[in-house]
Symmetry: C2
Subunit: 219 residues, 2 copies
């Protein structure tokens, strides 16, 4: 297995990886503000995590430079980007062009990070007459040929939950390995597929739990 | 602090709480299929977590019944629902009626869980002439009075990232305590506010990392 960005062949915990995008976001903001160097203490105050957590996380990747003098913001931003694979371009499709699928397709912010929307698919012939940002909505029948011709890295699953699992399995068979799942169900895919779930309903339930815990309820 | 659903006054870890909505989803599906009892082993196979993890998680809440005979699906579903606060109704508003805000407002699935959409707000006067599911899109100026009159538990923040923090702070001042944040930034709110973040870009970055790690890249 190739792990070009790793220091040695150390396995990095998924908790650390899970935190990298947030570091990347803050460093991008600092970079935009023209900040050149930042200490782990200053970064800690902005991000509201401990400086020791930051140093421990960064030590997984060799530490990214001297602590006493602070981190070079631009260097750190670029290195974390490389670790996250953001120097590459990914071909993405959205499957399911209902309200949520259309909202995702309309979101241009992902493209600047290298996630390029190549196609949108649905089963509704009426939608098949329309397009989003110049990308025509195609019928599901066109998927196998489209994936073969375009090379699709990531499929956003925005279908109804009832068909999400079968749809993802089909896409996997056509060669897609990355799944961004918005359906309220778990996809069941072989081990060499990677899935990121956005479970909106579960997020609301955690919010409900926390609201109940603080005892704040307006009505 | 009231913790009506807790066994004694034991503090439950956020990791356990974070897993409850997924149990709730699976139990809801099993219930829909007419399954009456299920063992931790069977549930473990379906959810792809260890049976020991399930038993440990449930032991935080007294165990939910005898293990040898399996769990009563309906009872377990209802108890977890109570712990998550899903027996209550929450008043929700969506702030920011762009593509994503509209998609959230159009999503009827949340209402069945008790999250009732009461209002939609934006700054665009053109949108102010429209409605979603019979709910008119109102201008931001109407927010203070609306919150006072309706009691708003949760605000979905679907504004541009650049104004999300200020918007949330304003909503907090009007009395909102639950924030469902879709903006690509962290809200900075006092401790008695609760925030659930849906960071789409960060989710894509984790997907990118994992795709790179398995070495699957079509182009």
């Amino acid at each position: 297995m190739q792990r070009g960005n790793f220091v040695g062949d150390k396995e990095i915990s998924s908790a650390v990886i899970g935190r990298l995008p947030r570091y990347y976001r803050y460093l991008g903001e600092l970079r935009g503000q023209g900040v050149v160097r930042i200490s782990s203490q200053e970064l800690s105050e902005q991000m509201k995590v401990t400086a020791s957590q930051i140093r421990q996380d960064f030590n997984n990747f060799g530490g990214f430079g001297q602590q006493g003098y602070g981190y070079n913001v631009n260097y750190l931003y670029e290195e974390i980007g490389k670790i996250l694979g953001l120097t590459k371009k990914y071909h993405m499709i959205i499957v399911g062009a209902g309200h949520l699928g259309q909202a995702l397709a309309n979101h241009t912010g992902f493209e600047s990070r290298g996630f390029v929307l190549k196609g949108i698919f649905d089963i509704d012939p009426e939608l098949g007459k329309t397009e989003i940002r110049g990308i025509p909505i195609q019928m599901m029948e066109a998927l196998p040929a489209f994936i073969k011709d375009n090379g699709v890295d990531i499929a956003g699953i925005a279908t109804p939950s009832s068909v999400a699992r079968a749809t993802a399995t089909e896409l996997y068979q056509y060669g897609v390995r990355g799944f961004w799942n918005f359906a309220n169900t778990d996809l069941h895919l072989p081990e060499n597929a990677v899935v990121e779930n956005i479970h909106l309903a579960e997020s609301l339930m955690r919010l409900s739990y926390s609201l109940q815990k603080i005892g704040t309820k307006n009505k």
